[in-house]
């Protein structure tokens, strides 16, 4: 079943911000907003939930720290505790200062890389992915708001969007499983 969405194009991010606030105040549902650059405060205006990437990063860091400790404890202390230059390899704690640089680096390594991969997975980004851009101009100088027409009166909705400062309004038929 096809559904209708409305693409409203704007040429200024301030006007876009105002439009987003007005559309939300009228309880229309914004499907997506496409912008050529990050618009400060747009996520707040759209009412998007806060990202949890930082939390995942903290947990990945803890994993990295654990990996570093277990690895070096096994290699340097348990498996083959040699006397290397008089360093005390009797227990992990006694030789810990020399392990700290590796513990630090692996913590950062895990936290950074796994968070980036999480970001790619959550935002569905990979090489050869087909771009989902509805209008090429939105990567250059136009802003596009996609509003779900739902059961609303199309004429009334396009009129309302025109009043919010849109320079171009298109009604699009969209397949349900498009994304």
């Amino acid at each position: 079943m096809a559904s209708k969405v409305i693409h409203a194009l704007y040429i200024d991010d301030d006007i876009l911000m105002d439009a987003v606030k007005k559309v939300r105040a009228e309880h229309y549902h914004i499907e997506e907003v496409y912008t050529p650059f990050p618009v400060h405060g747009l996520d707040k205006a759209m009412g998007l939930p806060h990202t949890r990437l930082a939390i995942t990063s903290f947990m990945y860091g803890c994993v990295g720290l654990t990996v570093a400790i277990l690895m070096m404890n096994y290699i340097m202390i348990e498996d083959w505790p040699q006397d290397i230059g008089g360093k005390p390899s009797f227990s992990y704690l006694e030789n810990m200062p020399s392990f700290v640089p590796i513990m630090f680096e692996l913590t950062v390594f895990f936290a950074a890389h796994l968070m980036v991969i999480t970001f790619y997975m959550r935002s569905k980004l990979w090489p050869f992915k087909e771009a989902e851009n509805p209008d090429v101009r939105t990567t250059d100088d136009h802003f596009l708001m996609e509003v779900d027409a739902g059961n609303h009166d199309i004429d009334q909705l396009t009129g309302f969007l025109g009043d919010t400062g849109a320079v171009e309004i298109k009604v699009i038929d969209k397949e349900e499983d498009n994304h």
Binding site: A54, F58, G86, P97, S98, V100
Partner: protein
């Protein structure tokens, strides 16, 4: 305008009186002779204290030729006689370094033309007001120590120097007059910057036509920062590293800087939160607190980085003449030495890592109090092992000295707050700062 409440005035005066009385008690309880030390130690050992052996190990006097007999008790006698002096020194330096850290932060805000901080400038100016009385008191203590009225600096004792070729070799730098003249230059330079920076800030308030005084502030701040980083480094050699004149470390100046910088920033945050809670700082919002907390967090990690770099390099190479510094600390000061790592690193990193927590006042206050206590112990760890060695404990004289200077600090800072409006209205970045939002 801020008005000093009677309760705060009374509170700070009580702190000063209690601290002073406690210090007098601490000085009066110093053992006068070897016999008294023997008596005290016998009493102590009877209670099962039993760390008599470790006291022998403590170095710093360079005169431990014989371990047996009276030489040992004489050594302990010197340590115990040093104890109230050293606690006075630690507390005087700690509160002075807070004011100095704030001064450096203030200068950086000007030199970097920060847009968020002008609403906090009057708080910073008030905290740096402690630089003058605190600096003068500290200068007097430095003079007394540098001319060997007490026994804090070994290099100031001509008898020790006569038998110590290493200190003789450093006498070109470590001598009483050089020490006191350098201290006068450092303190004089810092106080001069403070005087003019505050003066220009007040003049800028009344100057509605241009930014003449602001530009002057910018210039002297940049010049001060250059002066500061040299003098702070040299001051840390003189005032702290020379307690162990046989030992040296190249990053010591940075290490002390990180300590005073994070203490200063923490104090700004605490005073700001206090004033805000009393309704005096209408333009300060939780984004300003968030920024200060980020600085507390970041500089705490910076301090740890320097602490670890200093410790790990010396531990790793294990060169005997360098490593004694950490051996005495780990053997005699295990709890304060590793405890401060928990307070200055692990606690702030876990509490202040969350962006939301950095906006919650009581979280910042709690972290701030732990950081300040941690850096007091940091200074304590730098100074005490060389002055009282194994005979340390945090008792009446240590706590009293802290109370005395805390009272003085609160009194001076909050009285200075009453001297000028809390909004520096002539600052060109004021509007940006009022609307600062992160």
């Amino acid at each position: 305008m801020y008005t000093l409440s009677n309760r705060l005035r009374l509170f700070s005066i009580i702190l000063m009186v209690v601290g002073l009385v406690g210090l007098v008690v601490g000085f009066a309880n110093r053992p006068g002779s070897i016999e008294e030390v023997k008596e005290k130690m016998a009493e102590h050992n009877a209670h099962g204290g039993g760390h008599g052996e470790s006291q022998v190990e403590a170095s710093g006097h360079g005169e431990e030729d014989a371990h047996g007999g009276d030489a040992h008790y004489e050594h302990v006698l010197h340590q115990l006689q040093n104890k109230p002096w050293a606690s006075l020194y630690v507390a005087a330096f700690f509160f002075f370094m807070i004011a100095l850290g704030v001064l450096a932060f203030y200068a950086i805000q000007f030199a970097s033309q920060a847009g968020w901080s002008p609403v906090l400038f009057r708080v910073m100016e008030a905290i740096t007001a402690y630089l003058v009385p605190g600096g003068i008191i500290f200068f007097v203590i430095l003079g007394l120590s540098g001319f060997h009225i007490n026994h804090l600096f070994v290099w100031a004792d001509p008898e020790v120097v006569a038998h110590d070729a290493l200190i003789q070799g450093k006498a070109g730098w470590l001598n009483s007059w050089g020490f006191i003249i350098r201290a006068a230059i450092f303190l004089g330079g810092w106080m001069a910057y403070r005087h003019f920076a505050v003066k220009y800030s007040r003049l800028q308030d009344e100057d509605s036509t241009g930014n003449k005084w602001y530009k002057k502030s910018f210039k002297i701040s940049a010049a001060f920062l250059v002066f500061f980083i040299y003098t702070e480094s040299m001051a840390s050699w003189d005032w702290i590293m020379s307690f162990d004149p046989h030992w040296f470390s190249t990053l010591f100046g940075w290490y002390v800087f990180a300590s005073l910088f994070v203490s200063g920033i923490t104090t700004i945050a605490l005073v700001t939160i206090y004033l805000k809670s009393k309704g005096y700082l209408e333009h300060v919002n939780n984004s300003h607190i968030h920024d200060l907390a980020k600085f507390m967090f970041g500089i705490s990690i910076f301090w740890t980085y320097l602490w670890f770099s200093q410790f790990m390099l010396i531990w790793y190479s294990n060169i005997p003449e360098e490593v004694t510094y950490f051996i005495t600390r780990i053997e005699d000061y295990k709890l304060p030495f590793f405890g401060m790592l928990v307070m200055n690193f692990i606690f702030p990193i876990l509490v202040l890592i969350n962006s939301d927590f950095k906006r919650v006042n009581w979280f910042v206050v709690m972290a701030g109090i732990v950081i300040l206590c941690g850096h007091y112990i940091d200074v304590y760890n730098m100074i005490m092992p060389a002055t009282v060695g194994g005979s340390w404990f945090i008792g009446i004289s240590e706590i009293s000295a802290v109370l005395l200077f805390l009272g003085l600090f609160l009194f001076v800072v909050f009285r200075a707050l009453t001297k000028a409006p809390l909004v520096p209205k002539g600052n060109p970045y004021l509007e940006e700062s009022k609307h600062f939002h992160y």
